[in-house]
């Protein structure tokens, strides 16, 4: 055990210093922080611009030209926000001299069609158009309601409904905050990246030791199983370190973001989802690490090992390929099957946990199958590792792999 731990410690500290690992581990929190800072800085500037334009628009009335004669007929009068013009030309001059923010032509057949045309200078900006539209709508609504005597009916016409939704189970349904699934989903993606990063380092480590013949020296000191176990342990801890850094960053950046954006203030990540995600991370890492160790041992070079390992990583990444189906229907049959199948379960289940309610029985089935897959995977990897690690200059072919698996 001591030698296994020595290998684990060595792998951990050597890979902690790898530039690619450092860059990847630090880039996530840095990108998050930069994103928040940019949002705070530029977000404030954009909001300021919009508000100033709102204020400028609100300060000026909107004009209208009534060709239908209907507004006069119902006694509609212009208020401070609205000015009546006799002709299109008068309204156009008022617009050009910025007395009004725009004007509306109400055609002869307005009552039949509801069609009106608004004239403005230049392009409107997001939000400002909406404000103008509401003023016109309010003005027309007030005129129309002058023909309705019943105040209750008037009130209902102004606000036809106050909608509330109730779940058939009897609970009041809460409106879904997009952050409720975006953040856990993003976090599950980070965990998956960490699985592939750590197991990728394992492949690299095995292939390099085989390529530069260090393995011969190592195996004069410890058994192939001790070597493989030490590597899996050390690089597993490496992945955990990465996740802890990312967790800390999400926590810290989240706190900064919550202080800056009101929409984030009430957001909380479900701890049970985090716990289950960590379980799937560890199990997923063990499964992929076993395959990577076998791929490294069965190949003669790192490149060959990567080609061999890609068979497994492509299968593992199928859940990403089915992302659109997953978002459209997280309960689809194929999605459920993939969350049970050991090679795809870590990724698929982490994603399902992020956005869907998954029953306990499904989680148990998925974990049991995953553990069974790990047992078989590690058993096979150990056999291939033991045979392949000392074979130089030739890759283990299908027949040799089969022979290795059958050997005691």
């Amino acid at each position: 055990m001591r030698k296994t731990l020595t290998v684990a410690r060595h792998e951990l500290f050597v890979n902690l210093r790898r530039p690619s690992y450092i860059v990847m581990t630090l880039s996530v929190p840095l990108l998050g922080l930069v994103g928040i800072l940019l949002s705070v800085y530029f977000g404030g500037q954009i909001a300021g611009t919009v508000v100033s334009q709102f204020e400028a628009g609100v300060g000026r009335p909107i004009g209208y030209v009534d060709r239908s004669g209907w507004l006069d007929a119902v006694g509609g009068a212009a208020g401070e926000d609205v000015r009546i013009f006799e002709s299109d030309q008068d309204a156009r001059v008022a617009l050009e001299t910025e007395e009004i923010s725009g004007f509306v032509i109400i055609p002869e057949d307005y009552l039949e069609t509801g069609e009106v045309v608004r004239y403005v200078q230049g392009k409107g900006i997001f939000g400002f158009d909406e404000l103008d539209r509401e003023r016109i709508r309010g003005f027309l609504m007030n005129n129309l309601l002058e023909n309705v005597d019943d105040p209750i009916l008037q009130s209902r016409l102004r606000a036809p409904m106050h909608l509330s939704t109730v779940d058939v189970t009897g609970n009041e349904s809460q409106e879904l905050n997009p952050l409720d699934f975006v953040v856990p989903y993003a976090f599950s993606v980070l965990l998956i990246i960490s699985i592939f990063t750590s197991s990728g380092f394992l492949l690299q480590s095995v292939a390099e030791e085989k390529e530069n013949r260090v393995v011969e020296v190592l195996l004069s000191s410890l058994s192939p199983m001790q070597l493989m176990t030490g590597k899996i342990l050390g690089l597993g801890v490496l992945g955990l370190v990465q996740i802890v850094v990312w967790f800390g960053a999400v926590w810290g950046v989240g706190a900064v973001a919550a202080a800056s954006f009101a929409v984030l203030a009430g957001f909380r990540i479900d701890l049970s989802v985090i716990f289950l995600s960590m379980v799937y991370f560890l199990l997923g890492y063990l499964l992929f690490a076993a395959f990577m160790a076998a791929a490294g041992a069965a190949s003669t070079t790192l490149r060959e090992g990567q080609q061999l390992a890609s068979i497994v990583t492509i299968i593992g990444a199928i859940p990403f390929m089915l992302a659109s189906l997953f978002f459209a229907n997280p309960d689809a049959g194929i999605i459920r099957v993939l969350s049970y199948f050991p090679l795809t379960a870590p990724i698929m289940m982490m994603q399902r946990l992020a956005i869907d309610e998954v029953s306990a029985s499904e989680i148990v089935i998925s974990i049991v199958l995953l553990v069974a897959g790990i047992v078989v995977g590690v058993w096979a990897a150990a056999k291939i590792f033991r045979i392949g690690i000392l074979m130089y200059g030739q890759r283990l072919g299908p027949r040799q792999l089969w022979t290795a698996l059958r050997q005691a």
Binding site: K3, V7, N212, E216, V217, S220, S221, T403
Partner: protein
Amino acid sequence: MSAIDADGVTKRYGHFEAVKDLSFSVQSGEIFGLRGPNGAGKTSTIRMLMDIIKPDAGRIWLLGESPSAATKNRIGYLPEERGLYKGLRVMDTLVYLAALKDVPRDEAEQRAEALLRRVNLWSNRQDKISALSKGMQQKLQFVVTILHDPDLVVLDEPFQGLDPINTELIQEMIAALPAQGKTVILSTHMMNQVEQLCDRILLMDHGRSVLYGRLDDIKQQFANNAVILRAAGDFDNLHGVRHVNDHGRYYELILEDEATPQDVLRQLVQIGTEVREFEVAKPALNEIFIEVVGNELEIGDLSPTISNPRSPISKAKRA
């Protein structure tokens, strides 16, 4: 006492028998030569000694017990092809590989300092291994092998990539190991090093032992009854001399079966010959190797050894 006892050891890979019914022993405190052409089964034999692979038949006793995890700490192994982490620093490599032999860090650093100074690599202790020359890496590999003070040292081509000065340095260090109670197995294509260092040898071919025993006995076994003579005169009429080969700078006197070199030397003194050099002709190990393995040896297996042009075997081959 034996450091190694191998009895009827066989190793198969599928239908291929890499080692066939091999038996030999290595005495404690001796330097034992292991030779053979490529594919002779040396690597499989060494790996079985290291407990990296298990024999399919037969038994091995290593330092008095079966090869196991426990015996691994008592063995130092220098593989034929250098095995070092190119991206690691010298001292980090030594400390890590020593830790795998259960040597504490402080102790490893102390021993490393002494050994690195001995092989003139102390100033490179913080260098990355990729920055070292091939010769320096080979010296470092040797330091790795003996850093944990092993009882048994297995050296597979320890002189590869070394210049003559460093070859001599490593040769001196190997020669000093038996005096420290260490047993050495030396596998090398450099026959002159084997001849200078080894007490006994095992020559393998096609997985079998084809020569095994004391080096002097083996040489005697392959020697023709001949002497090498540097002197002026006519030697055809000497009693007991069957034939004289004139090689220009020296003569080779082929003796009758019953004649001895002493008889010839006595006659030379009696007739007043001025003898500049008189030597009993013995074949070089390389020539014995070629003769034994001979016809089955591929060109690529021929070792870059210094051959002895005076050897009867050499001449027989050339003829």
